[in-house]
Assembly symmetry: C2
DNA sequence: TATAAAGTATATAGATTTAGTAGTCTTTAT
DNA sequence: ATAAAGACTACTAAATCTATATACTTTATA
């Protein structure tokens, strides 16, 4: 399961994605709109900023905005920044690899082999889906709900 | 990430799968072979037994064995029994569904839509892969390592 | 039939992680 | 000068996970 941190991060990026091109958004506004604890969101946005995803402006009239086009920000990257694991086993993770202590031979481990496949399948979707795609899906879903 | 509980469960089932058709195996033997804390494994095997995957025999000469053919036991089922989540979001889980508190409209949520896709991809592999398949993969990997 | 081997069941402790809060500092517009 | 806003660090509370402990039941067999 993704942590709340990761979920909040994606939510915030989607909101800022919708706002792309306009004035920066204040943390408090995002927090209120998305029902995210403000202080928690503060930390998360800081991480996203330090990872190069966000531009921030201090002082009165300041706030956050995307530094890149929403099309360029891919979910896999967000998960990695916020520490949300993509792989289901540490021995299969590309960015957070760790050997399984109990495992005798990693190279011939059948379990590992299966979960590498699972990781590849998930990763494919997550690297192909951008914040812009998420917004587009939202629009498509809303439209299909509103029957004309 | 899968919990150790889930990992140990799969490992134990694979060992018992290799032993399928023979005498039941003692917990202590499985624990020793797979480097799993015995008392912890005890609880796990009990869960697998109560879920109908294992046959157990008490008393001297007792132990555990698979109640079904290893081909019939699929990884998705094991994850579910041991509480290992397949979905990355609770609102997308088939067996452990929970509404996302911060979410305003689940039906039009683009994030949810993406992670449903991820779940479907993972689930497909995990319902198509049995304990027997894991064992077979192990053999294939071992063979390809041993160059003749 | 006593004993040891083995599973059953529940409780609990310890460690780790997650989620959230608090407080102080820095920058900037007005 | 002041207020608005982000930056940074520290801390706490709760939840979860991993593991251990203890007591009980069943069964083979000497």
């Amino acid at each position: 399961m993704l942590s709340k941190k990761t979920r909040y991060a994606i939510k915030a990026l989607v909101v800022m994605g919708k706002n792309f091109g306009n004035e920066p958004m204040q943390i408090s506004r995002i927090a209120a709109e998305e029902h995210i604890p403000k202080k928690f969101l503060e930390q998360i946005l800081l991480d996203l900023r330090n990872a190069g995803l966000l531009y921030s402006k201090k002082g009165a009239g300041g706030g956050y905005s995307l530094i890149k086009d929403p099309k360029e920000i891919v979910l896999a990257q967000v998960l990695r920044i916020t520490g949300g694991p993509i792989a289901l086993l540490p021995c299969v993770s590309l960015n957070f690899y760790q050997r399984c202590e109990e495992c005798m031979n990693e190279e011939t481990c059948g379990i590992r082999d299966v979960f590498m496949e699972v990781r590849n399948a998930s990763l494919k979707i997550l690297t192909e889906t951008s914040i812009a795609d998420v917004i587009e899906r939202e629009n498509t879903l809303s439209d299909s709900k509103t029957v004309i």
